[in-house]
Structure formats: C-alpha cells, structure tokens
Amino acid sequence: MSKLPEIRNYTFNFGPQHPAAHGVLRLILEVDGETIVRADPHIGLLHRATEKLAESKPYNHTIGYMDRLDYVSMMCNEHGYVLAIEKLLGVEVPIRAQYIRVMFDEMTRLLNHLLWLGAHALDIGAMTVFLYCFREREDLLDCYEAVSGSRMHATYYRPGGVYRDLPDKMPKYKPSRWHNEKETAEWNAAREGSLLDFIWNFTERFPGRVDEYETLLTDNRIWKQRTVNIGVIEPERAIALGFTGPMLRGSGVAWDLRKKQPYEVYDKLNFDIPVGTKGDCYDRYLVRIEEMRQSNRIIRQCVEWLRKNPGEVMIDNHKIAPPTRVDMKEKMESMIHHFKLMTEGYCLPPGEAYAAIEHPKGEFGVYLVSDGANKPYRLKIRPAGFPHLAGLEELVKGHMIADVVAVLSSLDIVFGEIDR
C-alpha cells in the first residue's frame, strides 16, 4: 500500500512590498492549494500618529496633516476636519466658500476615483486605462495648483471658509527646448480664461472620457471574468461590517451622506446616487463610474453658481480668520489679530463634536474633543477605508489568490488614512 503524501495548508506573506498591496500592507494568507482559507491583514506600517501629533499643535497646523491621510483625496480630508472645528466654534461659512468646497470635494472625488480606476485596472491587467486616467488627473491637479499653489497637499480649506477666492487666470505652459510654441499653444487653449472657465471646459470633455474608459472595460470579457461574482457582500453584512460609500452602495444600499445628512450646499444641488445590485467587484466598479458622471454634474452646477455670485470666501471674524495683508499694514487691531493667530491660534469652547462627510471612499469622520485650549485635546479620525480592510477576510475567503488582488483593489485602500 502506498503512503499518501501529507498535505498541509501553506501560509505566506503578501506584501508589505507588493505593487498590488496598494501601499504597505502585510497580508498573511493561508491557502489550501490556490484557495484562500484565512487572510490576516497586518497594518500600521505607515502609522505616523497623526492624531497624537495634532494634540501638540494649534488647530490650523493640523490641516496640512489631513492632506497626508488619504493622499489621493486631499481636500475631502481637510473638509471633515474643518467641519468639526466649525461645529465646535459655531460659525457659519459664507455661501460662496460652501460652493467652492463642494466643487473641490467633487473634483477630489474624481481624482480619487480616477486613481482607483487606473490602479484597479492595472491590478487586473489592463494597462491602458491607467494612462488614460492619469491624463485627466493632470487637469484636476492643475486646478488644485491654481487655487492653492500645491498640486496635492493643498491645505486650502480653513475653518471659516477657504484660503482664498478662485483665481482669475490659469497658469500656462511655456515653450521650451522640448516643446515648441505650437505645442504649448495647443495645451494652453483651455487655459486662456479663469479657473472656472478651465473647470467648465474640463466638465465638457470629461463625460466623453468616461465613455472611453467604459469602452475599454464595461463589456470587456476578461474584465467581467475577473470581477463579476468576485468578493460579493450582502447588504446586511456590509452594514454590520461598517462599510460605507461605494462599498455599501455597491451592495444596493442607497446611503449617501450628501443626500441623507447634507452638509454645505449639497441639498441645493441635483445629483443621483447610483447603487449596485449584487455587491461584487463589478458592481462597485459600475457605482464608481456612475459617481464620476454625477460628480461632473455637481461640478457644473457649482461653476454656474460661482460665476454668477461673487462674494466673500472667508468669515469676517478675525478671532478665527487672519485679516488681509492690507489691513494688517494699516490697522493696529488687525496687526494684533494676525500676531495672536499666527503664534497662538484660536481657542475652541470646551466640548466635543463629530463631523462626517461623504468622502470618495465612504464616511470620513472627525471626532474632536476640546478642553478650551488652542490645540485639540483629542482628535480621532474615522477613516473610511479602515472597516473595509477589516472586512477583507470575509470577502476573499474561498476565492483564488489572484482574486485577492481584484478584491483588495476594489476596496479602494489607501494606507495613509488606514494607518494614520
């Protein structure tokens, strides 16, 4: 009688340095043949203790740290943080600043979804989409740069409004040894007017670009084979696991904070909430594609409003917002305000507040505890991706190793916010 060979499950590391791990994720996989039996994500390799750092700094110093949480949806992170501060301060933001915030939130959503789409497609094996997506991201990052001076880490939202009003002109390309005048003139065609004109021009082009991505993927046989019925999550289970955003809507739950608990001016805008039916990777893909089209709609409404309604973009209370440079040079009071704000910052009344926004990845919440000081006593960030990654094991159990990559990228994970 021949002896049967002993068969054992095999345990191995996926990451922390793996291009499909979307950052520094160490995923310990136990496989039976090629089937996943157990998946244990080890996180924290990018932990920078943002929340503890915030406790040692005046409130405004932390806005820049927010950009570095989810570093593909920078302004949305800032938004959650400044909303929490404004809630405790009890200030009302000027309406124009609210429209600007909503517009940039939606542009950020596009930035996030474009990067997600490109990376997701790349993980599954479609190279072209990645390059297409980065083409559109370039225009959006130029808008970031035009408004804040920085392409990614903008620090544009401030408690009480936004740092400054939208600029009247866009930066232009200059001819160089490598690019002659004819080429740059072509690139500059959309940049002749103001930032709003450039954004408007972008929104005219963008739906066609989304069609291009869809041509490549939506009915693509290979794409469907890799995503349909992969990583299915039932709506009840998604709620129990704390999923939000496209992860929840992909399972058919029409939950969106922009509709259900509107903040800023979302209740004045027209847009629809796409939902999936099955809750697999393919549905989440479709939801995010449709969200891009809806964001485009919102941006257009904001541009139309902003063109017609000039006004203040920062509250007039110089105990919170710094006075203008001109005032500072002429008025003693403004000088003192500026000095106190820059050295000490402002104090928040004691208390606690939780502000949540519909971040591109789901609910991004900021829980702020103040003891009346000029620094947060405790800042807790509720990252949208954290529960999604926690639910990974359930999503991949019983699937093949290659599906782990598809599921992981369909979660839209960014370690900057998960590890904080």
Binding site: I43, A240, K260, N317, H337, G365, K375, R382
Partner: protein, 226 residues
C-alpha cells in the same frame, strides 16, 4: 435627518436605568453609560425598532489626564513669558478637571432612521475593562484592537485582542497622555551588528506653541469684529 430632541426623549424614557446622563450639545446626543451597562444598552439600541442603530461607525477612547490643564498661565500677569522651544512641562502638580481618567467612546448610526448617537463610557484607571461589542457589530473588531493598542483598555469577549497599529514588540500605549510625543525608543541600522537596533531616544522633547486655555467667550460666534 431625525430630530435629536425626540431621540433624546425616546432613549431617556426607555433606558433611564442604564444611562447615567444624556446630553444634547451642538445637535449631537451623547449618552453617558456605566461600563457594566454598556453591552445591554448597546444591544437594545441596535434591536429596538424605532432606534435601530444598525451601524457602529467607530470605537475610540479619550485619556483625560491633562484635561483642562494649560502650559501657560494666562489669568494673571507674570514676569516670564513663554519662549519657543522650551522643555515639555509636566502636569503632575496639577489635577485634571475631568474624572475618571479614561473613557471609551462609541459612535452609532442608524441607516434606516437616519440618526446618530454617541456613547461615553467612563473607565477608572484601576479597572480598564469594558465589554466588547464585537458580537453586536462585527465592525467593532479592529477599532477595539486599536483602542487596546493605543490606550491599553481591555475589551472582554473580544475574539482577537492583538495590537494593530504599533510595531511588533512595541512597549507602552502611545496615545496615553503620559506617553511622550517623541516616544521612548528609536531604531537604526547597526552596520557592525548588521541588524536593526533599538535605542533610547536621543532628541529632547520641546514645546513650540504652548497650550493655552482662554475660557472667556471671545471666540464665540457673533462677536463684533475689529
């Protein structure tokens, strides 16, 4: 979004024996719950039809050790100001205005009723233990691990209470207020030993901006501007 005062009325009427205090501040409802009642109340909040808090948004904790203590006396005039880059002060001589030292905080959301509530569970430093709610909401798993890791609060009944964010073999609970911001150890690669070594930190803790508490109402909304 549902009205927070009616929610307050419903909850206090039904669960007053389980709740120590229920406050509405900035349109948010906070329930103060003794640790021994947490699990029972959480289960009821999830299961009662008109409340139906079916999603646990977050679990976190607060260390109140330095609550209400400032680094710079602003009440009376002093002959010394506060220069930048000074050594970190210790608050040991003063007493926090908030007791007990720790609290775990739960944020709940109802997708069907569209309302939120916050549970505040005060914990004595001598007994840092609270019942886990993983059996009610599986989403509590990682957040409770995080609280355990960063604050050292135990969750009884948690299936897998390991550290989550800090390094393998990390000592201490870094988000406690008595844990220094610069940490206790630093790592570097030692070429002679050809491995990574841990050493006590070599940098000095300093304060760049002092923590100042101004408890006048000058920052409140509606104040006249200069």
């Amino acid at each position: 979004m549902a009205d927070v005062t009616t929610l307050h009325a419903v909850i206090t009427q039904r669960f007053s024996p389980l709740i120590k205090n229920a406050v509405i501040a900035i349109n948010e409802l906070t329930l103060e719950v003794p640790p021994e009642h947490l699990h029972e109340l959480a289960k009821a909040l999830r299961d009662v039809k008109e409340l139906e808090f079916n999603m646990l948004i977050d679990v976190t904790a607060v260390d109140y050790l330095h609550y209400g203590l400032s680094e710079w006396e602003t009440e009376s005039a002093t002959s010394s100001g506060f220069s930048r880059g000074v050594e970190a002060s210790n608050f040991t001589t003063k007493k926090s205005t908030h007791q007990p030292r720790f609290a775990t905080v739960y944020h709940l959301l109802s997708l069907t009723q569209n309302h939120r509530v916050r549970l505040h569970v005060p914990l004595e430093e001598s007994k840092l233990m609270v019942a886990s709610v993983v059996d009610l909401w599986p989403s509590a798993n990682w957040p409770e691990r995080e609280v355990f890791d960063l604050f050292g609060i135990m969750f009884t009944g948690h299936p897998d209470l390991r550290r989550i964010l800090t390094d393998y073999g990390f000592i201490g609970h870094p988000f406690r207020k008595d844990f220094p911001l610069i940490g206790n150890v630093e790592v570097r690669y030692d070429a002679t030993l050809s491995r990574v070594v841990y050493e006590p930190v070599s940098i000095e803790p300093r304060i760049l901006e002092p923590k100042v508490i101004r408890d006048d109402t000058r920052y409140a909304a509606g104040e006249p501007n200069a």
